[in-house]
Amino acid sequence: MMTRRHTAEETKEAMHLIVGEMYDRIVKGEPPTMTLPVRTKNNIGFDSKLGVYKYGKKKSIRDATSLGSAKQLLRALHVVEFIEEMLEAGKSSTLREMYYISEAWGLGKFGSQNESNNLAEDLEIVTKCLREDFKLRPEEDGARMIGNLTLRERNRRGEWMRINARDDVGDSGYGVPYNVEAEKIELLENDIDFIMAIETGGMFDRLIENGFDEEFRCGLLHLKGQPARSTRRIMKRMSEEWDLPVVVFLDGDPWSFRIFASIAYGAIKTAHISEYLATPTATYLGITADDIVAYDLPNDDLSKKDIEALKAELTDPRFADGWWQNQINMMLELGKKAEQQSLAKYGLDFVTETYLPEKLAELGLA
């Protein structure tokens, strides 16, 4: 089932199902409950129809027999009420605003921003609505983009603006807004061969300064670390609607592997909407574990946390294929990690003149 947008009425109805579950349990003289899928790597599986990883069948029941769970239920009710108010008033708020608004919820107030984010996700999962349906916006801003591609964005005044992400933008590129759905953005045309997603701002700027996008006919996308939903969503749209390959260029460490998995296979936290966010055709370009050796890159020792993360990845279904197992084991064996920018060891142009062309050639893109 493809995730779709819901009307205000549908959203309300879906939310009332959750509220009804709690209410009915109390009427029956039982502790109120809320049923959720388990949100860990142990409960994600590959959906061959959608080509991404989705939550499996494991459910957890959050019931009000402990203080912590009971508070979660109460918070969920407050959030539902708050969303209903916004739907009625035609307003929206950021997750952070909701966190602050919860100050007035007394017993139902959030302990941390993380709690409110998680609860918003819980609601998405249970109702099958999107947080856009809830009128909740993320705080994080989306990515930056540069390249010869043209899109249309509806501005605050409701007018459509045509933007070419090479000619109509400055050095910082086109800023991807938090909402990249059809009502906000239309992809018009492009003259590029592929899209390259880049982890760090330093590397993004290096490629722009070296004119890499024009020379290699590509669109550059700055991920800003773990990419926001809108970043992943626009990547997916460009890849699908324009039929463009996506290559991902990250640091060479366990956390980059996770970033890639969330782009290509779906993130564990958002596995309920993987088919909406993930780009299954994306390819990992580097830095790979064998790049560290092959290019003799300056490196750092893996920290205890790095090693733990790598070991966890070995049992993560998303990394089950041979290539990944190989890479992870190799990194563990080396005991080393390397940053994208360590390529500068060979000069500022090495990355654009040698490294990337060699790596892209392997993929048949250069």
Binding site: H16, V19, G20, M22, Y23, R25, I26, V27, K28, G29, E30, P31, P32, A64, T65, S66, L67, A70, K71, L73, L74, L77, H78, V80, E81, E84, G106, L107, G108
Partner: protein, 684 residues
Amino acid sequence: MSGIAEKLASNQKQVAISEFFEKNKHFLGFDSLARSLITAVKEAVDNALDACEEARILPTINVAIEKLDTKKDIIKLVVEDNGPGIPQKSIEKVFGQLLFGSRFHAIRQSRGQQGIGITGVVMYCQLTTGRHTHVRSKIASEPTAAVVDIGLDTRKNKATKQNQGREIWYNPDGTAKEHGTEVTAQMKAKYQKGRQSVWQYLRMTSIVNPHAEITFTDPEGEVHHWPRVTERLPTKVEGIKPHPHGIELGQLQRMITESTDSRMTVFLRMNFSGVSARASKELLVAAGIEEKAKPKSLNADQIRALLEAFQGERDVNGKPVKLLNPPTNCLSPIEELLIKKGLSKTIDSRFITTLTRVPAVTQGNPYQVEVGLIFGGNMPADKPVEILRFANRVPLMYQQGGCLLTKAIESVDWRQYGLDQPGAKGVPKGPAAILVHLASTNVQFTSEAKEALADNGEVIEEARKAMLEMGRGLRKHLEKKKKMAKTKEKFELINDILPAIAKKSADILGKPVPDLAGSITKIMSAVISETETVWNKETKQTDVSITLFNYTSRTRAYTILATWPEKNGAVMEGNETGGRKEATGVWAWKLESMQPGERTVIKYSLSGLERGDWTETDVFFRGAQDVIGASKMDEKFLEEIRRQERALTEPNESDAEEDQHAQPVAEPTVAPPSGQTTLFGGDA
């Protein structure tokens, strides 16, 4: 006992005392500028406390330190007390003569057992600043106070006096002072803060002297005040005669040469404790000395033989001579309740347990170990616990690592009692302070600096046992705290959160608010008790309430039991639920039928206590189903209390010795009350 005193006496003729002082200042306590100041305060305060104790006066002591010259480290120290005062003609003896006083002869627990006391301070001041020490003292029977500047003639070992006179001594409020002594000294010294400071010394002194009121004005003008928390003076200690097991050759020689007794049997019985008529004869047989022999006539070999008989190295009929233990009424423990008060006035905490062990004897010397543990509050959780060591009520502030008392603490695996202790080694970490007090007629130090107690297997074991018992108290407290937190959460859940869920979900759905009774029973499915023990300022009583909720679907019956400080003279009032006395300090209420959803409250007030005396009530239950917030009654615990009751009411059945002089140690007829920590620490 030998040590400095004799060294001083014998060296006196050949070496100028000042030179001796200079050479030995490390063990006289004047080896560093910081320590010199602490020593000076200590000598003055010890004198004040001793004088007050002897005169049965509740001590009020003021200590003030002023920096006169920061560059040259010149400090002025003033110590004032409300003791009996010193008659004018004795002042020079007290302050200016070495070895004055009777301490060196009597065997009893006293603060200063050795050393040169306040005279050392006078000497130190003179040597470092050239200044004399100003003394003002008034006795009640005279209208005016005597004042004098005391110095020391180090050649003649005598005091020198200057500016002698009399004056009226006014208190700061203008009234005339009735009695007391004030010492003003100027010395080269450094004022420091922290673990080894005057402040810490006074704080520790105040903990073990809860009957003293101590005020300290530091060089910055800040006033630190440790109030008196009890009106009870320490019991007056009796001097006892030496016990044969604890005597040294030199001392025996001196006693024998000084003796005027007619025969050895009399000498042994009159001059030693623990020697019965039979034992005196047997000792002489063992030593090969005639009963009729005149003590003075003994030669060196005979004296040595007698000492060997004392020490069990010479037998009679193949057995060493059996001696009675020395009496232990010469000890003055601080006692559990007072340690508790002393600790709680100086350290803010959540939990205190204290324990005084029964007196014991090692090598002919009676001793007694007392411990206290204070936990929680503002103390840092990641640092080693604070160790408060005391010998005969005197704080030990240096050489912590080498001290027997520290070793006893380190010998315990504190991890099982809720403190951190990596590898079960060393001083545990956690928000706690541990107090150890050794009271003894003969405290053995590792060195003449008198800052660390020397190893003694028996004493360590005694202290260790006390620690283990306190540890158990702490563990129970922590477990209880955890349980209480859980109960509190459950109550928040059903009283606040659940009704909010019901109301909010009903509002959203536009339906009526549902009844919660069923959900509550399912969530709790238990009987829950909540106990409150609070001090009531208005009535000056401790109010206790035990609330029981039956959150099960069936009728329940229980007997609820609670501890209360009956032994400490508390009176239970306003107990409308009735019940009966189960044992000393344990009251019981029978609750025949508690209906589902019913709430039962047991309420009473305790009078005859002071604030802080009773802060935690233990609640137990007898019944089939668990009661959250109470413990199942441990019938063994009750049995133990009843056993103690019987032991106290029945006459003491220790063997009546035919000998009048020997006072056998009253061996405890019951094991040291394991319930005592419980009843005092407020835990079971």
